[in-house]
């Protein structure tokens, strides 16, 4: 069989197959597929000396920075001190309560002014910051609970 005829018949065969394929409803044979990729990206800020976590009454946790921008919390040189810094320090009020292991209140609620930005902590590596309103501020299992609220001014 001459090459030209062979090619013609191969082409013809392909056309017949295409017609049969279509007429028999085999258009998806073989299956056609496609793939697309996305990137998943995140930027983790470098951890500071302590972990500052805000927890709202419903249990939602968020970073301090999300609530008190551009406030920042760092551990002071002495382990039992926590330094709360803010470029707009006048905009925050701090309150904390302290209890012993039996949940006994060791000191009455105190409302710190912005000048009292250096607060004595319990020495825990983790400091739980509650975003609750001071009046409804719960005394929970933490030895120290600290509240930071944003002032309207």
């Amino acid at each position: 069989m001459r090459p030209k005829i062979l090619i013609e018949r191969l082409v013809l065969g392909g056309l017949v197959f295409a017609c049969l394929n279509i007429s028999l409803g085999l258009a998806a044979c073989p299956p056609v597929s496609a793939t697309g990729a996305l990137h998943v990206v995140a930027h983790v800020i470098a951890p500071t000396g302590i972990t500052a976590v805000m927890e709202e009454n419903d249990g939602t946790r968020r970073s301090c920075a999300e609530l008190i921008l551009p406030a920042d919390i760092q551990q002071a040189p002495t382990k039992n001190y926590y330094l709360i810094r803010s470029a707009t320090i006048d905009d925050i009020v701090v309150s904390f309560t302290q209890t012993d292991d039996n949940q006994t209140l060791l000191s009455p609620d105190r409302v710190f002014t912005c000048d009292d930005a250096i607060i004595t902590g319990p020495g825990d590596e983790t400091l739980l910051i509650k975003c609750a309103d001071i009046d409804s501020f719960p005394v929970d299992a933490k030895s120290v609970t600290l509240t930071i609220i944003r002032c309207d001014n």
Binding site: C19, L20, S23, V40, I45
Partner: protein
């Protein structure tokens, strides 16, 4: 060999076996009436972006978060049935792979819109990123898919940029 492959071979063989004199014989044409499926295309439109993450605090991006949830566009044959399979990562890694961060996907963390819903915030349905979905492309030949997730950085999570890939594979079912 599948039935389809056998059909191909049979057709080709029949054509090749026709003697040369057959070219002089009469022929008859059959009419083919069908809709030929167009090729599939999956385009990544938006990365799944968690933004800034604080060590020790989980962060979730919902599938409805416009501009943050991952988004694909599927182009194909109108009304064709397709399967959707996700390949999802377990961890995000830093560029040098020296640190990893856990990422979780729930069974409702993906959604789709086949042009019958209201877009990303009111999609037509929910997809499970852990399983295979079977849906139909919209009448306009398009479908959109979104995915959210949750990262769980540890208290001592290393600071820096983390990344991974999530892949969507789509295929016609033939229906």
């Amino acid at each position: 060999m599948t039935a389809c492959a056998r059909l191909v071979c049979l057709c080709v063989c029949l054509i090749l076996l026709v003697p040369g004199a057959a070219q002089a014989q009469e022929s008859a044409a059959i009419q083919a009436i069908a809709t030929v499926v167009s090729g599939l295309q999956v385009i990544g439109l938006n990365n799944l972006n968690f933004g800034t993450v604080v060590p020790g605090i989980d962060k979730t991006v919902d599938k409805t978060d416009v501009g943050f949830a991952g988004e694909w566009q599927i182009n194909g044959s109108a009304n064709a049935e397709i399967t959707l399979d996700f390949t999802i990562p377990t961890y995000l890694l830093t560029a040098d792979s020296s640190a990893q961060m856990l990422i979780l996907f729930s069974g409702t963390d993906a959604s789709f819109d086949d042009e019958t819903g209201g877009g990303q915030t009111i999609p037509a349905g929910v997809l499970n990123p852990h399983g295979q979905g079977v849906e139909n492309i919209g009448v306009g030949g398009r479908m959109y898919v979104w995915i959210g997730g949750t990262v769980q950085p540890t208290i001592s999570q290393t600071g820096g940029d983390y990344a991974a890939d999530v892949t969507l594979t789509v295929a016609y079912t033939g229906n």
